[in-house]
Amino acid sequence: MHPATIARMGRHDMLDDFFTRALVAGIGVAIVAGPLGCFVIWRRMAYFGDTLSHSALLGVSLALLLQVNATLAVGAVSMLLAILLVILQRKNTLSSDAILGLLSHSALALGLVCLAFMTWVRVDLLGLLFGDILSVTKLDIAMIFAGGSFVLAVLISIWRKLFAATVSPDLAAGEGLNPDRTELIFMLLTAVVIAISLKIIGALLITALLIIPAAAARRLSATPEQMAVMSALLGAVAVVSGLYASLNYDTPSGPSIVVAAMVLFVISLAPGGRFVRSLLVKRQGDQS
């Protein structure tokens, strides 16, 4: 037997299986996307998430052009776009809705055009748009867990301020919490999550992983923190069931995960959801 093969067998671990890699990566992404997604819906920033995720293609084409890591390039482009958005919104030229629409579709179109120009590289466009579980590498997993831990740590550290700014930016500003800075940090965190989610769920559907588990968690939670945890759990369930469906039925991973999340959301609307919530409310009442 070839020595290299023996060495590889010696280091054999569960991450050698592509499906396990996808599962681990997907769960990692879901756990980060859950709490962040709660803020996205509380702050009514769904379209903002869409805009950042559509810029992911532009990041990928830059990565191919400059021969750098795709996740890093996507993260950098998303962050730049987030900063650009903040600057444009402060200028008060167009409504922020129109600015988002403009940047969202421009970034998507620009990415597609750039990719089309690079005839020397073969790109799996469907995989970029809708996710590809075959493509997850160990390096991706490392980046997801490193990036994800970083995002969660920062989110926890700004939680109180961000929450106050979400309830009322004026109130937070008036009482000295500096909401502008907190909001910018939040936007940059969202950009990081988009970068690490790209391979699993695809540029077109990343926002769904932010929004749908959070929306499903709403009816099952009595406090913001419960909702964040519940959203992470539901996201993980959606990822696992979506990936299994993707494997069994040979469907693209992103849409499969989104369909699974949607099913969870519909279930959360059932009367049972209210029951779970009433239990949580009661428990909270007992604590205080």
Partner: protein
């Protein structure tokens, strides 16, 4: 107390421009500890903008806004837009910007007459209930400066009087400075030491009685508004009017109801009120 070092907030010829238009300009304003300054003026006259400059939410495009160092501010904004997906109980809302014990939460709600709402969801509160909760949150911070943007909107008549009494009481017991905005000319004048009438600029300023006699004020609000002030002074002198009379005097727009109140506006021992507040 009127020492400039003790000034909580000071606007100096301050103005804000947005999209080429001045929202308000040339505002001079100071709030000292224990002082209630009330901003009045028609819609779009720059009252909220001025308050936001004082709070540091808006940066003045011209002039300066200065606040004292390490100032604890309690702010009741004009509105609160909370998404229905945000689970937020009153209990949690009270602790939004500062840690509070459960006892402190209950005490603050009791002071604003909202003690039964502790475990309610904020988005299910009525307008008046929300005002009481927001005020409770602001005073629970034990602020040096309290900024109230229309603190009684949506509050019922008897509650309105109670809240204005509470505001005077907070000023007297905690010695904080209060910057208040109101449309309600009748009631606002109660405890105000200084009234600033805005209409894109400072139209006039002074004590409530001075303002009531000011020509610019009459030009802005109509001559009958003066009667509104007189009505108010009457009420201030007799805080424990029966409900019927309070309701009667508290027509929301002074010009539409001032005429019929003339006979109530006779008492004028405003000076006593001033002396008590100054003490």
């Amino acid at each position: 107390m009127n020492d400039s070092n003790a000034t909580l907030v000071q606007l100096d010829r301050a103005g804000v421009r947005a999209g080429g238009d001045w929202l308000v300009r040339g505002v001079d304003l100071t709030v000292s500890p224990g002082e209630i300054v009330t901003l009045i003026g028609p819609n779009g006259s720059g009252k909220s903008t001025t308050a936001k400059m004082a709070l540091g939410i808006l940066r003045p495009s011209e002039g300066t806004a200065r606040r004292g160092p390490n100032l604890t501010v309690g702010y009741v904004p004009q509105k609160l837009a909370i998404d229905w997906t945000l689970p937020l109980t009153v209990h949690r809302f009270l602790r939004l910007t500062n840690p509070l014990t459960d006892a402190e939460c209950r005490e603050a709600l009791e002071r604003t007459g909202a003690e039964s709402l502790l475990h309610s969801e904020v988005r299910t509160l009525s307008g008046g209930e929300l005002q009481r909760v927001m005020l409770a949150r602001a005073i629970a911070r034990k602020p040096d400066l309290l900024v109230l943007d229309e603190p009684v909107q949506g509050v019922d008549y008897s509650g309105e009087i109670a809240i204005y009494d509470l505001i005077s009481e907070i000023r007297n017991t905690q010695g904080c400075g209060i910057l208040m905005i109101s449309h309600d000319l009748h009631v606002v004048m109660a405890a105000a030491d200084q009234v600033i009438c805005l209409n894109g600029h400072v139209c006039c300023r002074g004590t409530p009685s001075e303002i009531g006699q000011n020509d610019a004020y009459h030009a802005l609000f109509g001559t009958r508004a003066g009667a509104g002030l007189a009505v108010y002074e009457h009420r201030h002198d007799h805080e424990h009017l029966p409900d019927g009379q309070v309701r009667h005097a508290d027509g929301s727009i002074c010009s539409s109801c001032s005429g019929e109140h003339h006979d109530h506006a006779s008492g004028d021992d405003r000076a006593d009120g001033k002396a008590r507040h100054a003490g």
